[in-house]
């Protein structure tokens, strides 16, 4: 939790100034009952109005000063805490931007969001509270005790008994209650998961007529919560009688012993009154310390979740002396093997492949044959486990990552559009593209016609993910976006699966005539999509099972033949 402190950065000064004001405030507060005793014992006893007024003015002045200190401390505390939260969020988000695909795969989006918002908020609240209470409470405790000691050392013995008693009692309560609360939280998770599963699967529940069964399941979880909560709370509520016992006990003990001393002439009534005020200050401070303690423990979990995100090392790091220019769109795989996790089975093994600049390559294979894995190595979305991948004759790991990815475009299988207009989405490919360039890219991707059919044309607003478009339309926009980047290599990872065959053919034709100078790799399910490629690669279970032109493969490769004829048959049977 304290590791987060380094993210105060430009707010560190404010964070450090806050305690000064808090200390000032606490010391002033502690002096007030002391002066009050003087008023009663000196001023009132001697009927010295001037003394009363002067001391009184001093007291009022101190209270004002304390108010100002408190207000400034409050402002600074909020300032530092929210500033820290801002810095933490920024650090987390920047770090996430540096993640490699493999890092992203590790966290779910939902979990990252919770860490970025809820967890940071928890940390912010605790820091804000700590900046005040963590300083104030111990200072009050010590200052008030020493003031009391200064007034009457013998009466302070009452405090010296009460403080350890209360301290030990409160912390014992925390230690007994804490595990019980953890157990309770688990029960809450259980209940939540019952509700969540039920909501997701409500159709399953209803079609199997399992409502009663689900209700029973919920009631069990619900009863568990009730019982565990009762157990935990039963302990927590003990803190009130313990606190009151101490307060009441101190008031009575001090009244008795103090009273006796007054009678014997060894103490004054003013001192007794200020003593009683100090009890409240001291015991309240102790209470706050114990509360803070619980809070910090609770925050630790949130802080750890935050640090997990920040401390994650990106699996892909830029080279020291990066190459900043990609010569051409030639690609070479040299003995490449790849697995997603260390010590996992290879999903690609021993791939050797040479693609020349400007060629069109078709890539087919069944699901699980690692087609996507193969192409994702080219723009270095993942790093190879063994061997190397070369683009333009240079190992991809030697390039500046931005340079490489600007030169190697890929249309992902699971592609995403963002909320914004169509034009804004397309400009992801090229910020400064002219309208002509955008239209040209859209014409190649066969997207221009449907875009202009919308009443707002290129300014049509897309809701998140482009939900207001059909699957085929989304795919075509994603293709246009990638073309706009004008890369040297363009990879299509099954990116026309939802596009009908006629449009698919039109796109391929346009790619061929309009983007001659680009190396194109097309992953497809339909043989028809890659039939006329310069070279076709057949992947099977992570290995190259065939390589050649359509005419060569149809004669020599059994897998290709199989796929080709089964798909062909489907079409021909009906002619």
């Amino acid at each position: 939790m304290f590791k987060l402190a380094k993210y105060f950065k430009n707010y560190a000064k404010i964070a450090l100034t806050t305690p000064l004001f808090v200390i000032g405030e606490a010391l002033l507060e502690v002096s007030i009952p002391f002066l009050m005793a003087k008023i009663i014992d000196v001023g009132v006893a001697n009927k010295d109005i001037n003394y009363i007024l002067l001391t009184g003015l001093l007291m009022i002045g101190m209270a004002f000063l304390s108010l100002v200190c408190g207000a400034i401390a409050g402002k600074f505390g909020a300032w530092a805490a929210t500033g820290l939260a801002k810095n933490i969020r920024q650090n987390m988000y920047y770090k996430i931007q540096d993640y490699a695909f493999s890092n992203i795969d590790k966290f779910s989006t939902a979990s990252l969001i919770t860490r970025l918002t809820t967890d940071v908020n928890i940390a912010q609240d605790t820091v804000q509270m700590s900046l005040r209470a963590l300083i104030r409470a111990p200072i009050m405790l010590i200052a008030a005790t020493s003031m009391a000691f200064n007034i009457n050392s013998r009466l302070t013995l009452v405090f010296l008994c009460a403080i350890p008693f209360l301290g030990i009692a409160l912390f014992t309560l925390i230690f007994i209650a804490f595990p019980k609360f953890l157990a309770l939280f688990k029960k809450y998770d259980k209940l939540n998961s019952v509700v969540q599963e039920n909501l997701i699967a409500i159709r399953t529940v209803k079609s199997f007529v399992r409502e009663d069964y689900e209700i029973k399941k919920f009631q069990d979880a619900s009863s568990d919560i009730m019982n565990y909560a009762k157990k935990a709370e039963k302990i927590v509520i003990l803190n009130m009688p313990i606190m009151q016992f101490t307060v009441f006990g101190c008031i009575l003990a001090i009244s008795w012993f103090g009273g006796n001393q007054i009678i014997q002439g060894r103490m004054t009534t003013g001192q007794l009154t200020s003593f009683l005020s100090y009890i409240m200050q001291i015991l309240m401070s102790l209470m706050i310390i114990s509360m803070l303690f619980v809070n910090i423990i609770m925050t630790r979990a949130a802080a750890n979740r935050i640090l997990e995100v920040i401390d994650e090392t990106p699996d892909i790091t830029p080279p020291k002396n990066p190459v900043t220019e990609v010569a051409d769109g030639s690609i070479e795989f040299e003995n490449v093997s790849f697995s997603y996790k260390k010590n996992d089975n290879y999903v690609l093994s021993n791939i050797n492949l040479k693609i020349e600049h400007g060629q069109t390559i078709g890539l087919i294979g069944g699901t699980g044959s690692s087609k996507s894995s193969l192409v994702q190595l080219i723009p270095r979305l993942y790093d190879v486990t063994k061997g190397r991948v070369l683009v333009g004759g240079v190992d991809v790991r030697d390039y500046d990552i931005k340079t490489l990815r600007d030169s190697v475009g890929i249309v992902l299988q699971k592609n995403v559009l963002f909320s914004g207009t169509i034009e804004e989405n397309l400009r992801w490919g090229s910020k400064d593209a002219t309208m002509d360039e955008i239209v040209r890219a859209c014409k190649i991707a066969q997207a221009h016609d449907f875009i202009t059919s919308f009443s707002d044309g290129y300014q049509t607003y897309l809701d998140q993910g482009g939900v207001n478009l059909s699957g085929g339309q989304r795919q075509r926009l994603c293709i246009a976006r990638a073309i706009l980047k004008n890369p040297k290599v363009l990879i299509f990872d099954d990116s026309t699966s939802a596009v009908d065959t006629n449009t698919d053919a039109l796109i391929r034709k346009a790619l061929k005539t309009e983007l001659k100078d680009m190396t194109k790799i097309i992953i497809a399910q339909r043989v028809a999509s890659i039939e006329d490629a310069d070279k076709i690669i057949i992947l099977d279970e992570g290995q190259i099972a065939g390589l050649g032109t359509h005419d060569e493969l149809i004669k020599t490769n059994d897998i290709y033949k199989d796929v080709y004829f089964s798909q062909k048959n489907m079409g021909e049977q009906n002619e």
């Binding site: 004002f64 970025l116 008031i251």
Partner: protein, 639 residues
């Protein structure tokens, strides 16, 4: 429509400031108190105990005056003073303190029971009610929204019941009590305290008002940051592919800065309030000391003891006021939460006027059906139709017909238009068409997830509106597009289809569904625990489990909504075989996403925009050369 909504995990988890204002406080409170009725006696004890407890606090601060004035000061300077009176007072106060202490413990203890009990009742009631709500409700309500009623709203209710309400009551008693004692001791000083009080209340209003205004804008800023981060993180891979990190960072900085500014303002006011209040109470403490000192020195209006009591009392006066201002905000917020809970409870439940039930029956000597137990091996499923005093039994066959059915989800746009179709017992009927053509809708109507507006659907000649929903659904097995599993073992998940199924039945069903092979390879076999909707299984494996689940239910009619997501060819073949075995001898409706699986259907129904445009078997439709032909040859998109 059957696509399940993503759980709102990424949504702002707290909707505190959304609709924070309760609509009808009085009505909601009355309803809330309805839940407390059964705790009447306990609540009376609680009230008494609160009174005793707060009274003790006041008494202990107030008794300082008589203590000093009557028992201490008169003895000052006396030789061998008689301390017995003094001791008696102290001991008496000890007794009072103990009673107060005990009372405090008792009411807190009772409140735990009352709160937790009430919460359980509310929770259970809400869930029970939710199970009876129609599917339409779940279509229109996000999961995150519903979930937060079980978490945020229930938690707010708990805090209100167990803490806010007792604390407000005890605070008000304290304030009133202290005020009375003060008034008795010195009306002049009381006037001063009231003056300070007004200043404090104004301060609370000023800071509180500012702060809550900025809290609302902070909440909006959080929502904005949340939305932005969610969208970008969701598309993080695209961000990488387009080297868009710098732009993404810059935009995030803007949103982040905006959140910081709003949060800073909101927290500044909130964070300043507390120290200001504390110090205002010190200011009032100082003022009392001065004025009090003056009064004692110059007038007979005040004694030293009264001043001492007063100084202690002012401190116990300001604390409850702070507390009350905090708690009242909270109570208002949690009433809004309670309203959201009641909203669910007030939602109309699924209507069911059906009287025909599904029972097992067997023929007696006279060839008449007689009802028997479910476990009877000779029993066959029959519809039991009440007629007069007795009942008529109709053997379940699986004959489903649609007559001139019109249907619309929203009452405006017709999703199905004039649909007529029939499925004879044992037939396999496949629905084909583009997304939105109405395939899934048809199956949703058969099991009455939705009710039709016009026309009639009959099942073995009975209008399905006359069949009890639970019986109707029991007779229909459904393998849905998205397979949903529950936390529990593989065995439990299969048993979902038939709760009293024996282990042998389950294993048999798994075998039939071709699922036994992969299950046996799981670390614990059938006892492997699945968590997080079966996250540890592949899509194909989950489908196999859902087939097994349907198999163990052994329904006469089956609805298969094929999964859209692609699985590898080998698994697909395994799944297909499992499905084929399951389909044997049943009436089956298949919603097809891949045409290869339905060639052997007796009837293929092609839907377009809610209308049946073609019907026939594979050969007939190919010869016809219409939409089916186009779909089949890939000239049209199918999904």
């Amino acid at each position: 429509m059957s696509k399940s909504k993503q759980i709102g995990a990424g949504k702002p988890p707290k909707h505190i400031y959304k609709g924070v204002k309760p609509k009808n406080i009085k009505k909601t409170l009355i309803r809330l108190f309805g839940y407390l009725k059964e705790y009447k006696l306990q609540l009376i004890i609680v009230a008494i105990c609160i009174l005793l407890n707060s009274g003790t606090g006041i008494a202990l601060n107030g008794f300082v005056k008589p203590l000093i004035d009557k028992y201490i000061l008169p003895l000052v300077g006396v030789q061998n003073p008689d301390l017995s009176g003094f001791l008696t007072v102290i001991l008496a106060m000890c007794g009072v303190a103990l009673i107060g202490l005990l009372a405090g413990y008792i009411y807190n203890r009772l409140m735990i029971n009352i709160t937790q009990g009430t919460l359980k009742t509310v929770r259970d009631q809400m869930y029970k009610h939710m199970q009876k709500l129609p599917i339409k409700y779940f279509d229109n309500t996000t999961h995150g929204n519903l979930m937060s009623r079980y978490t945020n709203d229930a938690e707010a209710l708990r805090q209100t019941l167990s803490q806010s309400i007792p604390s407000v009551i005890s605070s008000s008693i304290t304030v009133v009590g202290v005020f009375i004692v003060m008034l008795i001791y010195s009306w002049i000083l009381t006037l001063l305290v009231v003056g300070m009080l007004v200043i404090m209340l104004l301060t609370v209003r000023f800071f509180g008002g500012r702060s809550s205004r900025f809290f609302i804008s902070q909440q909006q800023a959080i929502g904005q940051l949340n939305g932005y981060a969610e969208e970008m993180l969701h598309g993080q891979k695209v961000v990488k592919v387009f080297s868009y990190e710098q732009q993404a960072k810059r935009k995030f900085d803007e949103v982040n800065q905006n959140l910081y500014e709003n949060a800073n303002r909101a927290h500044t006011y909130a964070n300043m309030l507390m120290p200001i209040m504390v110090n205002l109470s010190y200011l009032s403490y100082a003022l009392i000391a001065v004025l009090g000192g003056f009064l004692i020195a110059r007038t007979p209006f005040l004694t030293v003891g009264a001043l001492s009591s007063f100084l202690l009392l002012t401190r116990s006066f300001t604390m409850p006021i702070n507390q009350m201002s905090n708690q009242i905000n909270f109570i208002v917020m949690s009433i809004a939460g309670a309203e959201r809970i009641f909203e669910v409870l007030d939602e109309p439940i699924e209507q069911d006027q059906g009287t025909v039930t599904l029972v097992k029956a067997k023929k007696d000597q006279n060839g008449q059906f007689q009802e028997t137990t479910d476990a009877d091996p000779q029993g066959v499923w029959c519809w039991k139709k009440p007629s007069g005093d007795g009942a008529e039994f109709i053997k379940l066959k699986g004959d489903v017909r649609f007559k001139d059915v019109n249907f619309s989800y929203d009452g405006k746009k017709l999703v199905l238009k004039n649909v007529n179709l029939y499925a004879k017992p044992g037939q396999k009927i496949a629905f084909v068409g583009a997304t939105g053509a109405g395939k899934t809708t048809i199956t949703n109507l058969i099991n009455r997830f939705y009710d039709i507006q016009q026309g009639q659907i009959t099942y073995d000649g009975i209008d399905i509106k006359d069949i009890k929903k639970s019986s109707l659904r029991r007779s229909l097995g459904i393998v849905l597009q998205d397979t949903h599993l529950f936390t529990g073992t593989v065995r439990d998940n299969i048993r979902y289809g038939k709760l009293d199924a024996t282990d042998e039945e389950i294993e048999k069903a798994a075998k039939l569904a071709n699922a036994d092979f992969f299950i046996k390879h799981l670390p614990e076999g059938f006892d492997t625990v699945l968590t997080g909707d079966g996250a540890n299984l592949s899509q194909g494996q989950r489908q196999l489990l859902s087939i097994a689940r349907a198999a163990v239910a052994d329904p006469p009619v089956l609805i298969l909504d094929e999964a859209t997501s692609s699985v590898d060819t080998r698994t697909e073949k395994i799944i297909q075989e499992g499905m084929d075995k399951l389909m044997e001898g049943r009436t089956v409706f298949v919603i097809a996403h891949r045409l290869s699986t339905i060639r052997n259907a007796q009837a293929i129904i092609v839907l377009e925009q809610g209308e049946i445009i073609e019907r026939g078997d594979h050969e007939e439709l190919i010869d016809y050369g219409g939409k089916y032909y186009q779909l089949y040859t890939g000239a049209l998109e199918l999904s």
